[in-house]
């Protein structure tokens, strides 16, 4: 069976870049990924890519080279990057292609995202009366979770402390300064129990990865992590998602639980085998809940894990080693691929001051509106 490897990785640092478009940052990432693999754009057989707010990814073609390459634009909400990776994975797995690129970039206006009720199939009054904010959803989801599983507000704060701590040793991060627990806990409350420093911000950035079949990789004399499992899943009945005027009484599992299980099954490994993980941390609460939804701990155990520093770089399972969305910001189209980029750096031993020693299996999970999750498991 054809194996799929990541043989090149490039990134444009995340943050705010007033002098650059989203596309500029995407093109930068592709050139860096190609240089990393020692390849030319003309070598590339296919590309998948997308942005949420910065235009079509194939607008990169005139700048990269009009080679006639198959280029497909991907648009899949917050899982756009994960979906591009999955598309590239299957393109090679099918045997149809053996060398391609996946690309994601974005550039958003400052502040919370604007939402359009009618585009989401919702009545206009829902947005008019102030109930259509992703921030509220995150707050209400973690509020109930905290109540059911005895999670304290301090634990939410500790997630953010760790994120900014990791950001200080990550060249591609936006927030590079540490923030102490007290500052996080006493910063402006945006939507209780979440304060300003517990939320990520919309940002800018670009990421690109070069994928190859194992045969092609060897032919080129290159090496890189193997994609052992990859899956995208959407919201099942009874899951709790953004922009929901009502919920079923009977509660169900989340799209993350479905994607996670599918990826573990495909990879033939379990949560206990994972050495390093990047999981969606749109805000502190999301990281807490995703720790359990991805199987790393039971509901409620996060309280002790965070108190012990189990998810710090020195802990038993380092999580969001580059500071995640909290320290990098969230350019939607690029965010999921940033997680994979970070895992590639970790597995190749190139993560410098944030290197997790001996990392062999790396996990990534991106989640977002309107209720979908993408998981990838890499092995070196």
């Amino acid at each position: 069976m054809t194996q799929v490897h990541i043989i090149g990785a490039g990134i444009h640092p995340f943050g705010r870049h007033d002098d650059k478009t989203g596309l500029d940052q995407g093109v930068h990432a592709v050139r860096e990924a190609l240089a990393d693999a020692g390849l030319e754009w003309s070598d590339i057989q296919f590309a998948f890519g997308g942005s949420s707010a910065a235009g079509s990814a194939d607008a990169a073609l005139p700048r990269l080279g009009l080679t006639g390459v198959q280029f497909i634009n991907i648009s899949n909400g917050c899982a756009t990057g994960g979906s591009s990776l999955l598309s590239g994975y299957w393109a090679i797995k099918s045997g149809e292609f053996d060398l391609g690129v996946v690309i994601g970039f974005d550039k958003h206006p400052r502040g919370a995202f604007n939402a359009d009720p009618e585009a989401s199939g919702l009545p206009r009054w829902y947005g008019e009366t102030g109930m259509m904010l992703t921030t509220q959803f995150f707050a209400m989801k973690i509020r109930r979770y905290m109540e059911l599983h005895d999670i304290s507000a301090t634990t939410l704060g500790r997630v953010a402390v760790k994120a900014y701590e990791n950001g200080t040793v990550t060249p591609h991060a936006w927030r590079r300064s540490p923030v102490d627990l007290e500052t996080i806990m006493t910063s402006q409350m945006l939507s209780d129990p979440l304060t300003k420093f517990m939320f990520c911000s919309p940002a800018e950035g670009g990421v690109a990865l070069v994928l190859a079949s194992e045969t092609k990789m060897r032919e080129l004399g290159l090496a890189g992590p193997r994609v052992r499992g990859a899956a995208v899943r959407t919201r099942p009945k009874g899951s709790f998602e953004v922009f929901a005027p009502s919920l079923d009484i009977e509660r169900g599992v989340s799209p993350t639980e479905l994607a996670s299980k599918a990826a573990y099954d495909m990879a033939g490994v379990g949560p206990g085998d994972i050495d390093v993980a990047q999981i969606q941390d749109t805000e502190s609460g999301a990281e807490i809940m995703h720790m359990a939804e991805n199987g790393f701990c039971a509901d409620g155990e996060q309280e002790q894990w965070l108190a012990e520093g189990a998810t710090r770089l020195s802990g038993k399972l380092p999580i969001n080693t580059d500071g995640g969305c909290l320290a990098c910001g969230e350019p939607i189209g690029a965010s999921g691929l940033r997680q994979v980029y970070e895992n590639v750096q970790q597995l190749r031993g190139r993560a410098e001051a944030r290197q997790v020693g001996g990392a062999r299996l790396a996990y990534s999970q991106v989640y977002g509106a309107p209720g979908l999750s993408a998981v990838a498991i890499l092995e070196i």
Binding site: A112, T129, Q136, M189, S246, L247
Partner: protein, 136 residues
């Protein structure tokens, strides 16, 4: 006289306001609001009955972006408001604004009832909308 936020969202009767939801004819699944357009034919409109229980909640502390928000306020005059989900046992869990000034007293599971809130807007005058309040 204020205008209702939208027709068919709630009714005001002798026993106080009640939410109107849709029950799918095929399997009895209940959703709020009652679907409109082509899907409406698949549902029966029903009144949500009985006392609710607070399922989750938060406080909106910054002014939501316009559009879609149409509150008659600005960044400076905006007053934070509470909102949350209320479970109506055996029926459905509904999201709405909550009529309390401070959420410190709210507790998941506490009894809640439906109320009417006057909501001043910048483009539609004063609207009458549903909200929830502690039942005790």
């Amino acid at each position: 006289m204020s205008q209702v936020v939208a027709e068919g969202v709630f009714v005001e009767g002798a026993g106080g306001p009640r939410m109107i939801a849709g029950r799918r004819k095929a399997d009895g699944e209940i959703r709020f609001p009652m679907p409109s357009g082509a899907d409406a034919a698949l549902y029966d409109a029903i009144e949500v009955t009985g006392e609710g229980r607070l399922w989750s909640y938060t406080m909106q502390r910054f002014r939501p972006k316009t559009p879609p928000y149409i509150g008659d306020d600005d960044e400076k005059s905006f007053k934070p408001f509470a909102l949350g989900y209320v479970e109506f046992p055996g029926q459905v869990i509904i999201e709405g604004r909550i009529l309390v000034d401070d959420i410190a007293d709210l507790k998941i599971g506490q009894p809640m009832r439906v109320a009417i809130e006057k909501f001043p807007t910048s483009s539609r005058g004063e609207l009458s909308t549903y909200a929830f309040e502690p039942a005790t």
